[in-house]
């Protein structure tokens, strides 16, 4: 057996094993170095797995050589490869870029614990993505969530504590709902293996416990994914978390929950079961539309920069859900592309925010008046990523919006209405991004403050790498499109 066959397992095992080791490291800088190296290795594994699934469609791995459906099976598809790239990429870039920012926000003697939590979160997220076992997903989800609570609670503002408490309560309720749903399915099918479930659910698909399970699972995961109106935990947590943590979590945490949601909704509760239509067209699509409009509207009036971006994230979750709720290959492709592109844009934006955070303790918009003159590189990266968020052509954001609009247009009259909503919300995105840009470039610095200097060079490098990736994948989106397209096709056309 060569090493490539073990990649699915290593993807999770490496960060998980390194986490306790990091706790023991007391030498300054060492935890960061080890965590970064681990994250980099996870990224390399993700790239290797992507390579495999592009060639041979999917890779499976049986833990401890127990055959599925008895043992736990790891299953990497194009869909999971896309998510793995997002998660490990975001983590690596955030760690590489953010060392100074973390040093500034986290006390030195707590850093080993911080980095250990980071690695656990990474292991949790990747675990959710690669595993093919419904209960295993729950365990990894809770590992990731608990680690996220720790990471967020490391924020220096005391307001982070009530925020993270709220997140903990809502996150646990979501996970428990999910657990109830999985239990009901297990009761009806006698299996926890997703592929096996898919095969067996036909016989019992119309029975009430399955419908109830679908309700519980959808609701629980919607909570984790911050689908409107179950989003209340997200804005404050993102606002007061350490900047780098926000950059990491904003890029991947809600998307991983959405990943599980889509996997359940399309693989397990298949589209040919009776309640599927109802779930998407009647339930999720209106929620997606509301999320897009209301969250964008709130972002327009938000006073805190991170809060503004957090509300924008909620709107983006709406876009992803909207694409999925069209239940068509183009729609789903658009949704998955938007996962990738939004991770690029939001990651870059929050890294730029972290650069600003090096010089400002309060990131209220008024404080940032005129900052572009003092921090030109930071703000230029912010503008670039902001354009991608708006969806200006030439940036990654444009590709997914284009796909989303053309997918919606295939739906006839309803599609035209959806296009109108997408257009309106894009204009709202222009407004809220532009508020920041205008203030930073054309506002006068507040009288009382001292002039600030540009962010540290190394952080700028990382931020710019993220920003330029928005351009690169806006011009050459072949890789994410092939992953997203393949994933969408397999989610919808897996049935004979």
């Amino acid at each position: 057996m060569n090493l490539t066959e073990h990649l699915p397992a290593l993807q999770v095992v490496v960060p998980m094993l390194m986490a306790p080791l990091v706790v023991l490291m007391r030498i300054r800088g060492l935890p960061w170095a080890v965590a970064t190296a681990t994250s980099l290795m996870a990224f390399a594994i993700a790239v290797g797995l992507t390579d495999t699934v592009i060639d041979s469609y999917s890779a499976t791995y049986e833990m401890g050589s127990w055959r599925a459906p008895y043992g736990i099976e790891l299953h990497v598809t194009r869909f999971s490869a896309l998510l793995l790239l997002i998660v490990t990429g975001a983590s690596t870039l955030a760690l590489v870029t953010g060392r100074q920012s973390i040093d500034a926000e986290i006390e030195h003697d707590r850093q080993p614990l911080f980095y250990a939590a980071w690695l656990l979160a990474l292991a949790g997220f990747t675990g959710i993505v690669v595993t093919g076992d419904a209960f295993n997903i729950f365990v990894f989800m809770e590992i990731a969530s608990l680690a996220s609570y720790v990471l967020i609670a490391a924020g220096s503002d005391r307001r982070v504590l009530p925020a993270v408490f709220k997140y903990l309560i809502m996150g646990t309720i979501g996970a428990t709902f999910y657990l109830i749903g999985v239990g009901l399915i297990y009761m009806m099918t006698g299996t926890l293996n997703l592929a096996d479930m898919e095969a067996r659910i036909h016989e019992v698909g119309e029975l009430r416990p399955i419908l109830v399970a679908a309700g519980f699972i959808t609701l629980g995961l919607a909570l984790k994914a911050a689908v409107f109106p179950l989003h209340a935990w997200l804005p404050l947590s993102y606002t007061y978390a350490p900047h780098i943590v926000t950059a990491f979590l904003a890029a991947c945490s809600t998307k991983v929950a959405l990943f599980v949601l889509l996997r359940f909704d399309f693989l397990v509760f298949q589209q040919n079961l009776s309640a599927h239509e109802l779930q998407f067209t009647i339930f999720l699509m209106p929620l997606a539309v509301l999320a897009i409009l209301i969250a964008s509207g709130v972002a327009v009036f938000e006073r805190n920069l991170k809060g503004l971006l957090a509300y924008s994230s909620l709107a983006q979750v709406g876009y992803i859900l909207l694409g999925a709720s069209l239940v068509s290959v183009p729609g789903l492709t658009a949704a998955l592309m938007h996962m990738f592109n939004h991770a690029l844009a939001k990651g870059a934006l929050f890294l730029a925010v972290a650069c600003l955070g090096m010089r400002f303790t309060q990131l209220n918009l008024v404080n940032l008046s005129g900052v572009a003159r003092q921090m030109p590189w930071t703000m230029a990266a912010f503008v670039l990523a902001g354009l991608s968020l708006i969806g200006v052509p030439g940036t990654a954001g444009f590709i997914s919006k284009w796909l989303l609009i053309s997918a919606a247009l295939q739906e006839g009259a309803l599609g035209v209405a959806l296009v109108a909503i997408i257009v309106v919300s894009s204009l709202m995105a222009v407004v809220y991004i532009w508020r920041v840009i205008e203030l930073a470039y054309f506002g006068d610095p507040p009288e009382s403050t001292r002039p600030v200097s540009e962010a540290p060079g190394w952080m700028l490098v990382g931020t710019w790498v993220a920003a330029l990736m928005n351009i690169y994948y806006g011009v050459n989106p072949a890789l994410p499109i092939s992953l997203a397209g393949g994933a969408a096709a397999s989610l919808l056309q897996h049935l004979p």
Binding site: I399, L409, Y441
Partner: protein, 489 residues
């Protein structure tokens, strides 16, 4: 034979210039201005070098990247784009000379930013001119909007930023809210966005949908300032004069009418629109804008605002000429883009010259100023005559073709509009010229000023000369325009 690189150089060159300007920066202002001028001159050389091959019938194109199958970033050189690019690259040189004089004598802030963004705007204009499909055009259209916003907001005080926000708000909102959906719709029904002679929509769309799609385009392309999306143009008057010249003559509004022309000719196809009665409204809207803007211009007291409304009227001339849908009028539209550019840049240069030398901005202050500033006012006179369409100026040539096109199709609305608006133009320009030359100053100015700085005078003399020369030697422009006319036949 034109190589692929030759197509890309006009777009990359100003970008390189922008980097160079930023690099040299504030420390070496002389070097910075030299870089600007060198870039501008070499841009003109490379653009004009493309002309012979084009006239010989070549249509060189480059595909840079394919985003999604059928959706690519692609450039192609064709007559209309060539005309726009040649015009913009020529006027950039003159405008740069003028900018140097204007910015220095008025001690403007952020001069490096000004020159950098100017170069970026030119790069965007070249991208619009040579775009091979609608998507590419749209990208550069947005780049042009974004890069000119800081130029409009140059002064940076509250009122300026407010106006600049109107500028940006209208242009971005219309382009994202109307133009982009129109593009998506086109792609949805036609499966392509390429500019093809004869259009791509002919077999894919019928009935009222055609009129609706055309409306999305016409109002989505806010830079063409067809009423009611014209408000950004007067708002942008807060910009320094060289920027106004950029907006009104070199790039921005020209990009607008150029895009509309291009959409009508290469996306809809003239023959197709002739058969679709649901698209007839365009002519009336354009005619209304011509008359309404001229009437508003009559009531203006500020010189630059008057010029702004005059521009709105003149732009709709182009749109109207396109909407007549006859080969001669399409030619007239192309020529009018050039003619108006020469005339209007002269007028703006003159207005800026007066502001620099005398600090005067209002029309009633201009009595007797012709004696102090004879060169400036002479240029102003030529520009104004061209706006009215009096020979021997460029405006006459284009009006001639537009009129000829209207007679070809017995289009009474167009004929009457042209006659009425000519009268209105005369009504608001002639008094200014008359009082400037033939009446005395009410009060002597505080400083006994003469002409504006030399750079400014040179620039406006050159553009005034171009306005006259285009009347006398218009063969190259006609050649290009007639190639366009041939497509529309």
């Amino acid at each position: 034979m034109t190589s692929e690189l030759q197509v890309l150089i006009p777009i990359l060159l100003p970008l390189g210039g922008a980097v160079g300007i930023a690099f040299v920066g504030r420390r070496y202002p002389n070097l910075r201005e030299t870089v600007t001028l060198v870039t501008a001159t070499s841009l003109m050389v490379v653009v004009w070098a493309l002309l012979p091959d084009l006239l010989a019938g070549e249509r060189p194109s480059v595909r840079v990247a394919e985003l999604i199958p059928g959706l690519a970033i692609e450039f192609q050189i064709e007559p209309l784009g060539m005309l726009f690019a040649a015009l913009a690259s020529l006027l950039w040189i003159v405008n740069s000379i003028y900018s140097i004089g204007y910015m220095r004598s008025n001690n403007e802030r952020h001069q490096t930013r000004f020159y950098v963004l100017f170069a970026v705007a030119l790069s965007a204009a070249m991208g619009i001119a040579f775009a091979g499909n609608l998507l590419t055009l749209f990208i550069f259209y947005e780049v042009l909007t974004l890069s000119t916003y800081p130029l409009v907001a140059h002064k940076g005080d509250g009122k300026t930023v407010e106006s600049a926000r109107t500028y940006l708000g209208i242009l971005l909102a219309t382009s994202i809210g109307l133009f982009l959906p129109a593009i998506v719709w086109t792609y949805h029904v036609a499966g392509t966005l390429d500019f093809l002679p004869g259009g791509i929509l002919a077999d894919n769309l019928t009935g009222p949908a055609v009129g609706l799609l055309l409306a999305l385009y016409v109002f989505g392309i806010g830079k063409a300032a067809v009423m009611p999306v014209h408000r950004w143009l007067p708002a942008a008057m807060v910009a320094p004069t060289p920027v106004s010249a950029l907006l009104h003559a070199v790039a921005v509004v020209k990009a607008g009418v150029f895009t509309i022309t291009k959409v009508v000719v290469y996306i809809f196809g003239v023959d197709f629109l002739v058969t679709e009665s649901s698209a007839d409204w365009l002519l009336f809207v354009a005619a209304f804008t011509v008359i309404a803007a001229s009437v508003v211009a009559l009531r203006q007291t500020n010189l630059k605002r008057l010029l702004a409304y005059s521009t709105i009227a003149q732009l709709s001339y182009v749109v109207m000429a396109v909407a007549i849908l006859k080969p001669l009028s399409e030619m007239g539209a192309a020529i009018h883009i050039v003619a108006h550019a020469f005339g209007k840049i002269t007028l703006f240069f003159a207005a800026g010259s007066i502001y620099t030398a005398a600090k005067k901005t209002e029309i009633h202050q201009l009595r007797g100023i012709g004696r102090r500033m004879p060169w400036t006012m002479a240029a102003f006179t030529i520009g104004a005559l061209s706006m009215i369409g009096v020979p021997p100026t460029a405006g006459f040539v284009s009006k001639w073709y537009i009129l000829a096109g209207s007679f070809q199709s017995d289009n009474h609305v167009a004929i009457i509009t042209i006659i009425v608006s000519t009268a209105l133009n005369a009504l608001y320009f002639l008094p200014i010229i008359f009082y400037a030359w033939f009446s005395r100053e009410d009060v002597a100015p505080a400083n006994d000023h003469g002409e504006a700085p030399l750079a400014i005078v040179i620039a406006l003399t050159v553009t005034a000369a171009l306005t006259v020369l285009l009347f006398l030697f218009n063969q190259p422009v006609l050649d290009l325009a007639s190639q366009l006319g041939r497509i529309t036949k």
